[in-house]
Symmetry: C2
Subunit: 315 residues, 2 copies
């Protein structure tokens, strides 16, 4: 706990490893640490960053993180929610290859996704890692997700601001983005807006602005923005971070940030209760066997969902 | 059960009343009926219809229902999910006032929303009413929701097709529609496209078509359509129903309809299990008292969500 609060990167990394452990004794220690550092957490801007593979997410995060750490001299922690990483045993490319500058930057802390478990489980570990990084003095938290599945919905329950990266030439490229993700976005950044791609990026920017204008304002009251950037040329990056800061100022002043986080914590508690009940229920071998049988009966139309649920609960 | 299967409207109404009852003895009988009629259910097109108040939902449903019952000579059941109706003790206006023609049409069966309980509870009763109406020979089920809250998400878990009604002059009018609902839509119908409003409606149609074109195809593979209509002049109504039929043919042929319903049933079973576990857990007075205390501690930042959930579960 002392090491974390002192901002020791090695201890921070160890603490997160402890959070990710499934050993009951580790888990107990992890929960003690979380309780202890909790009063020192919360003092950051939490930014979700997503986009389909190929959109240039690593390059973008490298550029944005470098801007925050080198130009503004602030600390950044980059965390991830990527349940698919369990297949590849972690990121396909290591962080040193993905983000060569940021990974050796003393003000940056990069941590790949917890590799095991359900989306919910992976997200829970990331949520806990956020608290520990904050306690270690990281005032800016980036939470990276893949942009193709449930991870975004989970990320949305733990961030203040959601940044969606998109490629120019809307249409086909959008196919990889799940319906629903666009609506989470507080800011859409059209990436790779350089060279021959600059004009298509600007057209895409106008089209998205128009399309987003058709949707109602998000509860923050801050109208989502659509911006262009070129991470490789460093263009648009400072402007995007300015927008994040503008949002944070607005949301703090209106009290929305605080309300949203309280609501997130309350919902998270209920989610953990529901999850714990399910886990303890489904851990029962008799329940497991019966569930397989009932699930088949429901899918094959031999019984109603209601009858099946009732049968399992009564048992 | 005999009365339902024979299509007796009085018995059908009584059966649904039984489904809505909270008396344990009624509930037991209701579950027996559901199991008994279940093999005869499922033979319908289930259409969700939503829109903000003022969009002309009643007039639209009256026109569409009249087209289906009088022109096509098919039976229609109109059900509703409106948890807010518990406040007004049912619909503000009775169905006879809302839908004067349809409410006296012998091929139509209109049932207001179950008035009590959570969104989930209200939706569960509606889901069960769908099965009973199908068993009574209603080949077209409309599920009406309010378009301002969670009811749409619940409706989406029980329908084959989602129809969103919108007013021309996108922008301000959209404010009432919750973000996320537009993405559920298989068809957006711009209502009141008559008189001076015809041209704005056509402009809105083009704008929405363009905006929806930016989103990926829904899993059905059927691209959402944007159409205009005037329920009062009976224009566009037949075309909208043709589109629903076209969707149903497509989804049946591809096997998507069947897959979606199986998946809905499986998810519904898991939802009922989770709900039952929560209910039985929270029915415990000691849990209730503790939960209030822990919820306050979490919202006030005195403890973590994790610690609170663990404490409650262990207790």
């Amino acid at each position: 706990m002392e090491g974390v609060l002192a901002g020791d990167r090695g201890v921070l990394a160890q603490a997160i490893t402890l959070l990710e452990s499934r050993l009951p004794s580790d888990r107990e220690l992890a929960e003690q640490i979380l309780e202890a550092i909790f009063p020192e957490s919360g003092k950051s801007v939490r930014v979700g960053i997503t986009g389909v593979p190929g959109v240039g997410k690593s390059t973008f995060i490298e550029a944005l993180g470098t801007h925050v750490t080198e130009v503004l001299a602030e600390k950044v922690a980059v965390l991830a929610i990527d349940p698919s990483s369990q297949l590849s045993g972690g990121s396909i490319l290591g962080d040193k290859t993905r983000m060569p500058k940021l990974s050796v930057n003393p003000r940056a802390f990069i941590r790949p996704s917890p590799a095991r478990g359900s989306v919910g489980g992976v997200a829970q570990r990331t949520r806990e890692a956020v608290l520990v990084c904050e306690a270690a003095g990281y005032g800016n938290i980036f939470i990276e997700t893949v942009g193709v599945g449930q991870s975004e919905t989970m990320a949305a329950t733990m961030v203040d601001f959601f940044l969606l990266l998109m490629l120019a030439g809307a249409g086909d490229e959008l196919q990889g983005i799940k319906r629903g993700i666009i609506e989470l976005a507080d800011l859409v950044a059209i990436t790779k807006a350089d060279g021959d791609n600059r004009r298509p990026a600007e057209i895409a920017q106008r089209e998205f602005s128009r399309a987003l204008g058709l949707f109602p304002l998000p509860p923050s009251g801050w109208p989502p923005r659509v911006m262009t950037c070129s991470a490789s040329q460093g263009k648009g990056i400072a402007e995007i971070w300015d927008a994040v800061q503008d949002y944070a100022r607005h949301a703090r002043a209106s009290g929305y940030l605080e309300r949203r986080r309280r609501e997130q914590n309350r919902e998270w508690m209920h989610e953990l209760i529901a999850q714990g009940l399910r886990e303890r229920f489904l851990a029962d071998p008799a329940v497991q066997a019966k569930l397989v049988e009932l699930e088949r009966a429901v899918v094959e139309g031999r019984t109603t969902s209601l009858g099946a649920a009732r049968e399992l609960l009564d048992e």
